[in-house]
């Protein structure tokens, strides 16, 4: 009767000496997968112009209906979004907008610290979406 009890004690003692797995969150950040679906980013051409052509595919496919686009056109007829807003309070981070985009104009970054103190701050406009998220999360691990 005593032997299994002692085996149990031995096992817990071996755990006592193991390296701890705790991640002390605000001090240490978790490495996320490279394809992590975090906050959206509107990408730019090398010239600095926005890639988005305001085709509305993302807004159409969005199941949460959280993307709002107002199209505008440059003098040469090139279309661009005059307003592009994502309501992150409604977004479900499904990534359909990224899949739907024919121009690779919208991507999802690895940013996961997107909580705010007021709801209004979660309504991202075009300018905020075009900035890459800070801090940028460095990917060290390769996730499957």
């Amino acid at each position: 009767m005593l032997i299994p009890l002692l085996q149990g004690l031995k096992l817990t003692f071996s755990y006592l000496l193991k390296k701890k797995v705790t991640l002390q969150y605000p001090d240490e950040k978790w490495d996320v997968a490279p394809r992590w679906r975090g906050r959206h980013v509107l990408t730019r051409h090398a010239s600095g112009k926005i890639k988005c052509v305001a085709c509305m595919l993302c807004a159409t496919v969005c199941p949460a209906d959280c993307i709002y686009i107002e199209a505008a056109a440059e003098p040469d007829g090139r279309r661009y979004p005059g307003r592009y807003e994502i309501d992150l309070t409604r977004c479900i981070f499904c990534g359909y907008c990224v899949e739907a985009c024919p121009k690779e104009a919208i991507e999802m970054s690895t940013a996961y610290e997107i909580s705010e103190y007021s709801r209004g701050n979660l309504l991202y406009d075009k300018e905020r979406l075009m900035e890459p998220p800070t801090p940028r999360y460095e990917l060290k691990k390769k996730a499957g």
């Binding site: 004690l9 003692f13 006592l16």
Partner: protein, 344 residues
């Protein structure tokens, strides 16, 4: 003035012991949380102060600042007295635990030191030490039972009923496991028991191995630690007798619980592991070292075993612990008598 002086010194000595015990108890909580954390491959508290060393103070401050609630249906007087009973009964047995041989005060204080027992490393070396301890620790259950009953809550009442049943079942086993030691030492005084173990091979753990195992099991049931913590069983009884207690009243229950743990460890050191005795280092270090080793063992046990089912606890107490304890007493008496007759 001549007569008041020693009384004052005794009071100071008592106070010092109480302060030391309370400090250790506070840091036991940190030790327990750290060790449990390590066992679960976590780090444990490390936010308050370096290595979490200020955590007990933060916990204490938090407990003091919490709202004091008295349940409206409670029997107020009993409700308030119950935690006090628990704490007092957990603290006063420390008076007979010898923590060192001599304190070296005879040169400072003169003859007064010997007359009033000021020089010994124990508050009161009474010749019925063990009986005193068992008497007091049985009284401690009153706090739990009255607290559970006075709260006027079904969980509390169930918890205290369990406490009562468990105490009755294990008090017997605990007393029986110690009788072997008492026979071999030939004394009920804890100082004499320690002095009977003046070398390592004379430690009672080697002469009474079965007694030691029984004491360990019955002891952890007595202080209601995890394999036997049915009276505060979180998942069935919400916290048992403490359910309706808040703020410092809850803190006192907690204090009593950890003081019990410390006390049982020091008693184990005293009865089975030669108390303060050891080479080179001063006695107090040996005493504290051994005591904290047992505290660690209890935490380790808590981190390892699940809680027993209620009926199994009762069954184990009455059908295993009690007969084996009796057997141990008889076997010890038999062997000891033969030894005295033919060898000693």
């Amino acid at each position: 003035m001549e007569s008041a002086f020693p009384v004052l010194l005794v009071l100071i000595k008592t106070l010092l012991v109480i302060v030391a015990v309370l400090t250790f108890v506070a840091y036991l909580t940190l030790l327990e949380r750290k060790v449990l954390g390590w066992i679960q491959v976590r780090i444990g508290p490390n936010r308050v102060g370096p290595w979490g060393l200020l955590q007990p103070l933060a916990d204490g401050a938090k407990l003091l600042l919490k709202e004091e609630i008295t349940v409206s249906a409670a029997n107020t007087a009993v409700y308030i007295v119950a935690p006090l009973i628990v704490v007092v009964c957990a603290l006063i047995p420390f008076g007979v635990i010898p923590f060192a041989k001599g304190l070296g005060l005879e040169n400072v204080l003169g003859p007064v030191a010997n007359r009033f027992d000021l020089n010994t490393g124990v508050v009161a070396d009474i010749n019925l030490g063990i009986l005193y301890i068992f008497g007091i620790s049985s009284l401690g259950v009153y706090g739990v039972i009255l607290g559970g009953w006075a709260s006027n809550s079904k969980y509390s009442l169930l918890g205290s009923i369990r406490a009562a049943a468990q105490m009755i079942s294990y008090e017997l086993g605990l007393s029986l496991s110690v009788i072997g030691v008492l026979m071999l030492a030939g004394s009920l005084s804890l100082v004499n028991i320690v002095e009977a173990q003046d070398s390592v091979w004379k430690w009672f753990v080697f002469r009474q191995p079965l007694g030691f195992i029984l004491f360990l099991i019955a002891g952890s049931a007595e202080i209601a630690r995890t394999p036997f913590d049915l009276m505060e069983c979180e998942n069935e009884l919400v916290a048992g007798y403490q359910t309706e207690y808040s703020s410092m009243k809850f803190g006192l229950f907690y204090l009593g619980e950890y003081a019990h743990l410390l006390f049982l460890s020091s008693l184990m050191t005293t009865l089975f592991f030669g108390g303060w005795q050891g080479p080179i280092l001063p006695p107090i270090f040996w005493f504290l070292g051994k005591t904290f080793f047992f505290v660690f063992v209890f935490v380790w046990i808590r981190g390892t075993y699940p809680r027993l089912r209620y009926d199994r606890v009762m069954q184990f107490g009455w059908k295993t612990l009690l007969p084996v304890g009796l057997l141990n007493v008889m076997a010890t008496a038999f062997v000891y008598t033969l030894w005295l007759k033919y060898v000693g």
